[in-house]
Assembly symmetry: C2
């Protein structure tokens, strides 16, 4: 009688990640396999933009010295600066405590934003209700023009509402 | 004969957003209705953490002076610091050029990370291949321990590979 052997078919493994196995194993990706990637200017601390990376984009970012992202709208990789010249030279990459976000410190050449602004967060400051001031205008205080910069808040020591 | 009237049933409107209508209309949310929200220390520029906000969390953040996030794992709102005391006082909120990410500048009390670290990006620096150095070790250069900090790169002027 033929002895039992372990010839039972096993499911095909998932496509290999280009990342080191220990890193690939602990990443917590969105349902479409992505991580948000924050790009920050390494010396000034400016937050430049947020892009998305899958394993391949993160691998390329770690190994080529240039930031590579995955475009959710175009469904393709893009190397920052390839068309604009506004290259992001990678200085360091850190994963957060939950392994679901990366922070990429870069040296940004020129404007980070496709609008020509230095960062993608320069143009659209939302009004923040100053909780140190009396709420004279009630719940509509936050409904003003979204292009109106919030008044300066010096309320770092404001007692939280709860 | 009864004249035609516009009594055709219309679909119920979506639940109203607590945000100003012009802002709610232009937000580009993920399929589960969220925006990534980057929290940055307003004076030092440290990127502290990334959380998620739906319209209600963003509304609370804009109007209460405290950062409120949506927990994807617990499926509930959480006000940063309510359990730890490590409050985030909101200084400013900006929407990015694509209206799909917010940058919240805050004054962080104590540690931002649940591990006790100042930021969620302090502990897990990934090795970056220094593209200014000869690639003597080939494609395995990026497979070292993920706890090994990348060597310092002074290659801000490195010519991109492509």
């Amino acid at each position: 009688m033929t002895p039992m052997t372990s010839r039972t078919p096993v499911p095909a493994p998932p496509p290999p990640s280009p990342l080191p196995p220990d890193l690939a194993a602990r990443l917590k990706r969105t349902s479409d396999g992505l991580l948000p990637a924050i790009a920050q200017q390494y010396d000034t601390g400016e937050v430049l933009m947020l892009g998305w990376m899958d394993d391949e984009a993160l691998h390329r970012t770690l190994t080529t010295g240039r930031c590579t992202y995955w475009s959710r709208s175009r469904q393709e990789y893009w190397v920052k600066g390839d068309t604009s010249g506004h290259v992001q030279h990678v200085k360091s990459v850190a994963l957060d405590c939950d392994a679901d976000t990366v922070l990429v410190k870069v040296d940004q050449v020129g404007a980070a934003c496709h609008t020509g602004a230095r960062t993608c967060f320069d143009a659209d400051v939302l009004p923040v209700r100053d909780t140190a001031a009396p709420a004279a205008s009630g719940p509509t205080a936050a409904t003003g023009s979204t292009n109106t910069p919030a008044p300066p808040t010096d309320s770092g020591t404001t007692t939280p509402a709860q």
